[in-house]
């Protein structure tokens, strides 16, 4: 029984680390964006202040049960994905649920939260929320295709669906998958642009156009839950990329460096790009990313 409590403790620590790292990255992204725009920018811990403030709001409204539990659904997705993705390779404490799920499970648990959130947004009755949700779902259909192609290519090439196995393969071979399966990496990175919903793919929650879309009716602790869930989710996604393509990380510093390096890609791309409309975004994802996805599949089929 002891081991289960250790596991639970490890899981809680993982989630807390993910929360902190995710918020810090978001803060850094605000800072970097500000510097690119020739501004001083907020301090890197600004997001923590925001989160604390949201948590200390003294009132919160909801429009019904579904909106009330929507953030909890979102949280399930974030925490489950951070628990399923191997955070530190070979560490017993933080192995969490690594062996209980695999890539396909991850793909599906990743849409659980957004769907719950979408239901919550629908419950608010705000048309902006519903519009944002339809855009988000449509865009998701766009970027999931190259993303899945990349994953399928990896799975086919290495005959495993387990992320741990993929890390082990990379460490045995000594070559990161981003070099040994370059096309899959490119397709996955292009899909990641959409997954992080930074500009140019941020029409889902366009603040001026849709009044921040799905979350437009959420304030206070709901927004706090969503914000922390987003940060955990971002960390999970970054870790997944690191695990899949950058050979995983065996200690926290390596993890931070690698995840931040990956994080810079959508962020920097976003700072210099204007916003796409939904169908433009879908067509974007079904252009070059899809092409690279096919190349990746071809590459996997040949090798």
């Amino acid at each position: 029984m002891e081991s289960i409590w250790y596991k639970i403790l490890g899981a809680i620590i993982t989630v807390i680390v993910a929360f902190i790292v995710g918020l810090t990255y978001m803060g850094l992204s605000r800072k970097i964006t500000a510097r690119i725009q020739n501004r001083k920018g907020p301090p890197f811990y600004q997001n923590f202040i925001d989160a604390l403030k949201l948590a200390s709001k003294t009132s919160a409204i909801h429009h019904g049960f579904m909106q009330h539990i929507g953030p909890a659904f979102m949280m399930i997705t974030s925490i489950m994905s951070v628990l399923v993705v191997p955070v530190l390779t070979g560490d017993q404490w933080f192995s969490n649920l690594n062996f209980k799920g695999d890539l396909i499970f991850l793909l599906y648990i990743m849409v659980f939260g957004p769907l719950g959130m979408a239901l919550g947004a629908g419950q608010t009755g705000n048309p902006n929320s519903a519009i944002g949700v339809t855009r988000g779902l449509s865009q998701m259909v766009g970027f999931e295709i190259p993303w899945v192609m990349a994953l399928v290519a990896l799975m086919m090439q290495y005959k495993t669906a387990s992320i741990v196995d993929l890390i082990n393969i990379q460490q045995e071979q000594g070559v990161w998958l981003m070099f040994s399966s370059p096309f899959a990496f490119i397709a996955a990175v292009l899909a990641m642009l959409g997954m992080f919903r930074y500009s140019p793919f941020d029409i889902v929650g366009a603040p001026t156009e849709l009044a921040s879309g799905p979350v437009s009716e959420n304030g206070g602790k709901y927004l706090f839950t969503l914000m922390s869930s987003n940060s955990i989710f971002a960390f999970a996604k970054l870790t997944l990329y690191v695990d899949l393509f950058l050979g995983g990380a065996s200690n926290i510093v390596e993890l931070l460096i690698k995840t931040f390096a990956i994080y810079l890609i959508p962020m920097l791309y976003g700072t210099v790009s204007p916003r796409y409309r939904t169908e433009q975004a879908i067509k974007y994802f079904w252009g070059w990313p899809l092409f690279f996805g096919f190349l990746a599949l071809l590459y996997a089929a040949i090798f």
Binding site: R30, A34, Q37, N38, R39, K40, G41, P42, P43, Q46, I49, D50, L52, K53, S56, K57, T58, S59, A60, I61, P207, T208, L210, A211, S212, V215, S216, E217, N218, G219, G220, L223
Partner: protein
């Protein structure tokens, strides 16, 4: 744990600190003052370094920034927006029009004194106030929040009938839902 007085004080300090440094602004750009917001937020003056950030909807906002005159028609919406915001919340009156009507002092359709209708925490004078003044206004608000004096929302709640009476005086056809807390 919250019942303890000292710890309550500490919690208050932390909360006020966070509120002070994270001001999400819902700019109600009715009048000409709205044009002063972009320079305040962008590179030259960069209000974001103070934690000031735009919010898209009243549900997420902390500060309601009323940038200019309010007609009876827009006042209705402003009241509605204010009531939809979550506690704690603050109002900044921006420009002369909100203070005494400014150049619209004899207009048949604009209100002259905003604080009769909404609890204003900070007024920023000027027609229009320049971004420096706006930043100063935010600074003042931050100071008030840190001291715990920015209690417009409480005032509004406590004196709701008075405010409501004033509002209903110029909005005779009152169809809005009641603000019930």
């Amino acid at each position: 744990m919250i019942n303890d007085k000292n710890s309550q004080k500490i919690v208050d300090i932390i909360q006020n600190w966070s509120r002070k440094h994270s001001i999400w602004v819902l700019a109600y750009g009715t009048g000409c003052g709205a044009i002063e917001i972009p320079p305040t937020m962008t590179s030259r003056y960069d209000a974001e370094r103070l934690g000031v950030r735009g919010a898209a909807t009243p549900r997420q906002a902390d500060v309601l920034l009323i940038t200019g005159y309010l007609t009876t028609k827009t006042l209705k919406r402003v009241i509605r927006v204010y009531e939809q915001m979550q506690d704690p919340k603050y109002v900044i009156g921006f420009g002369s029009c909100t203070i005494n009507g400014g150049m619209y002092y004899d207009s048949y359709n604009t209100i002259k004194v905003l604080d009769k209708y909404l609890p204003v925490d900070v007024y920023i004078n000027g027609c229009m106030p320049r971004p420096e003044a706006v930043l100063a206004g935010f600074g003042k608000l931050q100071q008030l929040i840190a001291e715990g004096k920015a209690n417009g929302a409480t005032k509004y709640k406590e004196n709701l009938e008075w405010y409501r009476g004033n509002q209903k005086k110029i909005i005779p056809n009152w169809v809005m839902p009641e603000y019930n807390w």
